[in-house]
């Protein structure tokens, strides 16, 4: 359905654009309205769409949506905070799907002006709200059965896992610092108390090494040293910059922490600690294994 030319042709046309305007331009196709064409710029919602089997309606994603791997085949329309309306509209979407986190703000008005509906579903901050998101998507895209079963399976497994975490209640609670890498300003951010990552820490029997409450906090070497975590969990991009725990531990500030001195620096996927979803139970188990290596070892 998409009659857009290959990358090579586009580049060649760019070079000789003046003459080629007349040679290569094609009249637009009349818009066929029947099948749904959804552009979704939220990576959480994209993951859920695949989970419930609704991915057939997706025609476009944002740059950061890379799970599951199959999604990469979809056209990327750019970074979700630096969108351009024309790029979105060129995919002839019947729906623009988002969790509310996109920019620039003008894109909203531009899409409305052209008549592209926008659907915003906020995922919330709990397992239940994530389950509700799955159900909502299921209803909207006619995958109720799959959505309901995945949502309830998720809740059941989560409930069981949470009941299991009671065993950490009376034991030692290591101080943990989750370090995320902010690619905009090229700095490290710590997940504070009240964030989803922090909640998972607490379930897994740990305590946040940061005292402050909120979303994310810019980390300075002093702040890291002051937090003095026993364990550092770094998300993928921030960890992979150094390639190994030893090199990561050599960072200023980090090198003064108990975590560095006892070689307890671990890597985790960003998605594991940023939103709740069907993969959260496995993520929780991974975190438990990191925090309590002696006691862990169950599936």
């Amino acid at each position: 359905m998409n009659s857009r030319p290959s990358r090579a042709t586009r580049t060649a046309t760019a070079v000789a654009s003046l003459a080629l305007v007349f040679a290569f331009a094609r009249p637009l196709q009349a818009q066929g309205a029947q099948p749904e064409r959804v552009v979704c710029v939220s990576k959480q919602i994209n993951e859920f769409m695949f989970a419930i089997g609704a991915q057939g309606v997706l025609v476009g994603r944002d740059l950061t949506s890379i799970y599951p791997p199959a999604i990469v085949k979809l056209t990327s329309i750019g970074y979700h905070r630096a969108l351009n309306a024309e790029g979105i509209i060129s995919l002839r979407p019947t729906l623009f799907l988002t969790d509310g986190n996109y920019g620039p703000a003008e894109v909203t008005a531009q899409l409305e002006k052209v008549g592209v509906p926008i659907l915003t579903i906020k995922p919330g901050q709990s397992i239940d709200s994530a389950a509700a998101l799955l159900v909502t998507l299921g209803k909207r895209f006619h995958r109720e059965h799959a959505a309901d079963s995945i949502a309830s399976a998720m809740k059941t497994k989560m409930a069981a896992a949470l009941k299991d975490t009671v065993k950490w209640a009376n034991g030692p609670k290591p101080r943990v610092l989750i370090m995320h890498f902010g690619q905009i300003a090229n700095n490290y951010l710590g997940l504070r108390r009240g964030s989803i990552g922090d909640q998972m820490l607490r379930w897994a029997g740990g305590v946040n090494a940061l005292d402050s409450i909120g979303g994310m906090q810019r980390l300075t070497p002093e702040a890291i040293a002051k937090a003095a975590p026993d364990i550092i969990i770094a998300t993928d991009v921030g960890f992979d910059r150094f390639g190994s725990g030893e090199k990561f531990a050599a960072m200023p500030g980090v090198d003064l922490t108990p975590a560095a001195k006892t070689h307890r620096i671990y890597r985790i996927e960003e998605d594991d600690v940023m939103y709740y979803g069907p993969r959260t139970v496995d993520a929780l188990h991974r975190i438990e294994a990191i925090l309590h290596p002696a006691a862990a070892g169950r599936k």
Partner: protein, 354 residues
Amino acid sequence: MPERRGYGRIYLLLTVLLAASVLASAALGAFRFTPAEMFRYLLQAIGISEPAATDALARNVFLHLRLPRVIVAGLTGAVLGVSGTLMQGVFRNPIVEPGLAGTSAGAAFGAALVFVLGERTTLAFTQPLGTLAVPLFAFIGSFLATMLVYRASASFGKVNVFTLLLAGIAVNAVCTAGTGFLSYIARDPQARNITFWNLGTFTTANWRGTIVIAVVFAISFAALSRHGKSLNALMLGEDEAASLGIDPSALILRLIIINTAMVAVDTAMVGVIAFIGLVVPHILRMLWSSDYTFLIPASALAGAFLMEVIDVIARFVISPAELPIGIITAVIGAPVFLWILLRQQRAGSVVVDG
């Protein structure tokens, strides 16, 4: 002088190039339009023919997204080109940019204030302004920064060009630090807004903003084109220009005000775009003439042409996503500028304030 030199032929060439680039920019991108389609939509827009329901999407995209964007890109190129010419004339220095007298940095700071503080109680009064808040504050910031630079450098009623440059660098630094601080204390989404806007973009082009920029530029250009001779005379030095019947201080002040208005209004919408003001006058001088009666109109045409080409590139390279404009201008502009500098050095021409 103008007719004998054949400037008319050059204007014609630049106009043809501009027209071709505008056509290309209007036609190409994530959406493609044929000239026939463009013509049809335009006729429908002014009510001559009836719009068909089937191409509502394409027509809306063309009229509401593509067209204002193409026009804003051209206007921005013209604004920056003329501004660069103007400032190089005022400072009598080839390494001068609209950004150097605090104009662009002040605009960015004003806009950042709205981005970051606009929702909190300190600046809650910006809410009723809605989308006008950003351009308005950008203009105020830009104007204050430029006036600060001017005040710092004018004494005994005369403007000292060296002090102007130094004060501009200082004010630039303060504004940039302010913007940086704001993006530091900002919550994540807001900080990212600033970052991307700062890199320059035509994505947010709409008709209202475009018309504002067009009107301001038209007025500014009309006012400026009277001063070609004066800028030429200024090349001899302020005293020499004064003995030719020009008031250098008054002229410089007037030119600065016009320049600020033009650049601030544009920056408020499209962000900070560098190097156009530096490169366009240089290339025109190299190819043809340093005569300001020629440079002012020529840099408008050439700047607009260059910006259209850059916009096409921005929308094409990673389509349907797009590159920030400022990145492309830096990638193209910086090497060209260095090349110009090296050529000048080798030719031994003097680059000194008179």
